[in-house]
Symmetry: C2
Subunit: 335 residues, 2 copies
DNA sequence: TGTATTAGGTTATGCGATTAACCTATTGAA
DNA sequence: TTCAATAGGTTAATCGCATAACCTAATACA
């Protein structure tokens, strides 16, 4: 039923009465030492027989695999829907395209621990890794245990050349939000985040800078039902603010739904701002005001940096992608 | 910098003074002909040296790769955001988990043509394929050109055992919508779809059955801007219906946004129903009434069927996953 | 006592592609 | 005429693992 034999270099060579080396050289354009007629003959035969290289053999024979691993932290906060997250799925989508364009292959993996990443790299002889969603300690750990270059897709601004690092200007994004809210007359502003480190903190600091005052910071739990409980118990506290800045669109939209269910009108009663510029943000009502990231540019930058690192293991760069406030309908003018 | 040598079976064997065959056999649990103490000794050493098999060599040496390909049609309608589509990303997310649980590896690929799928399978020696988003002709084409089993993730109900086929009961889904709309007093109902074949038609037929009358069918173009134009020019036509059933949530939500921009209130002026039960459907306002699919069950079913087919190439099954109407806020009672 | 069986391994080959090293015939130069 | 160089290849080793075929010593059996 499904048993046609696959065409190998050896088959081509035998049918043509040449050596496998000749066929292989033609395949790779190393034709300096092969006559034009032989080249043409081999090329024709390859085409005719529909030759497709066997990757397992190819990988084994050369020392670079031309495979790039994309590893996403399978964080509990995604509740098993990691690849459905809008930031993650956009990353995968564009990374996949960029990797293919560059003539590489992508291997995609969820991982809970850095040791899984190390094993993954070793077992597939990956040429490089793009990694998403771990924290700084874990990246250092990875750095100490791996032999290949990697680029942190959601990097930190303050990292000093220790690995490839793609970041957005979190501080500036927060600042843009702050300036906008200030221009709209808000001064009682709350910032919510699940995390008080790294980029969340930068966004918060930017917010304060833009507002020109110290906004309050509220840490929320990572589990959805605990957040719900917390919001319920702190409803009056939340209502005490005229605007709330959530450090991700996901939290912003969740909070918005929660408030709407409690009869709070957005933006009339409370204004809300998110961060990420995910697709749903512009599909909901009211449209979410948020800080938009250029996912395509980010993926392009990540892959082009990684390829540079693969070709020269001394390079490590820290690249920041600009962000831009995207004004929706979730903030009202406040006097 | 990144240059530790990787541990091979040969290294383990030499350090222990045994043959590579012994180590390999221990690795695969073929310990009938190996003394307990040797087994223990080898296992200890493997653990201690952190042995990780080289996949390229493993694949090459055995005739099954233990790789499952997941191929998604890179359809123009996604406008380059294929993996961000909610149906697709949910599929990838769950398929990835199921494949990993089964001890296989996933290779993910976008493809525009079936020939790419054939090459992909050949180059990686895939054991099987899960394929999403192509049309029936293309699947037949694939069937004729490939040597390995494949399962159609978004299959058709009327296919007769020609490949592994996972489908939902499109007809029943449409029927549930029809019955619901009928119970809400709607009789002027329009069905919109970009396609007049297969599952879209089944959903439409189910709709009519449930309504107990023949609803109108309206074909829309696949390009977003052309749809926009069409909707604009046919606004009065659309307003002539009390309820519109879009055969996917994507179209339903898009239409809802369009109507809202035109000042049409949903559901007060027009009721809207979608199909798929994607995540955004429950996040928008008003919450979309839609036909929910169980994505996890679908992925589990697809992988378990594919594994059956891999182990016995005679099997081909046609499995239908039940669907359930999820009532939101986008349909009003009409008298 | 002689033969069969079993325990506990080892040897050697192949998977398909890559590539360094080698070979031979022809041409060119002195 | 002789040697070097070049064109146009071929040979054979290698990548790391799996596995069928083979081997030897000890034990079982009759």
């Amino acid at each position: 039923m499904w048993d046609e034999k696959k065409v190998r270099i050896k088959d081509i060579a035998e049918e043509l009465g040449v050596s496998t080396a000749t066929v292989s050289n033609v395949l790779h354009g190393k034709t300096k030492k092969i006559s034009d007629k032989t080249v043409v003959m081999v090329e024709k035969k390859l085409e005719e027989r529909g030759y497709i290289p066997d990757m397992a053999a190819t990988l084994l024979a050369r020392n670079n695999s031309r495979i790039i691993g994309v590893v996403v932290n399978d964080h509990p906060k995604y509740e098993g829907h990691t690849f459905e997250d809008s930031f993650i799925s956009a990353a995968i989508n564009h990374l996949s395209d960029e990797i293919e364009i560059s003539g590489y292959f992508m291997m995609l993996k969820k991982a809970k621990k850095i040791s899984e990443v190390v094993n993954f790299a070793s077992m597939w002889n990956l040429d490089g890794i793009v990694i998403i969603g771990f924290c700084e300690d874990e990246y250092q750990d990875l750095r100490d245990h791996i032999r290949i270059p990697f680029v942190i897709y959601d990097g930190f601004l303050d990292v000093q050349n220790r690995f490839g690092n793609i970041t957005i200007d979190d501080f500036d994004g927060g600042k843009q939000v702050g300036e906008y809210l200030r221009s709209m007359g808000h001064s009682k502003v709350l910032c919510i985040a699940d995390n008080d480190i790294c980029m969340d903190l930068l966004r918060y600091k930017g917010l304060c800078e833009g507002l020109n005052l110290k906004a309050d910071f509220f840490k929320i739990p990572m589990e959805a039902d605990e957040r719900e409980k917390l919001y319920l118990s702190k409803l009056d506290f939340l209502k005490g603010y005229t605007a709330i800045f959530a450090v991700s669109d996901y939290y912003a939209m969740e909070l918005m739904r929660f408030l709407q269910r409690q009869g709070v009108v957005v933006p009339d009663d409370i204004s809300i701002v998110g961060f990420d510029g995910c697709r749903e943000a512009s599909l909901i009502t009211p449209k979410l005001t948020t800080v938009a990231q250029n996912n395509l540019l980010r993926a392009q930058t990540a892959i082009s940096l990684l390829l540079k690192m693969i070709n020269n293991s001394e390079i490590t760069e820290n690249i920041s992608i600009p962000v831009k406030l995207s004004i929706g309908e979730s903030v009202r003018k406040f006097n």
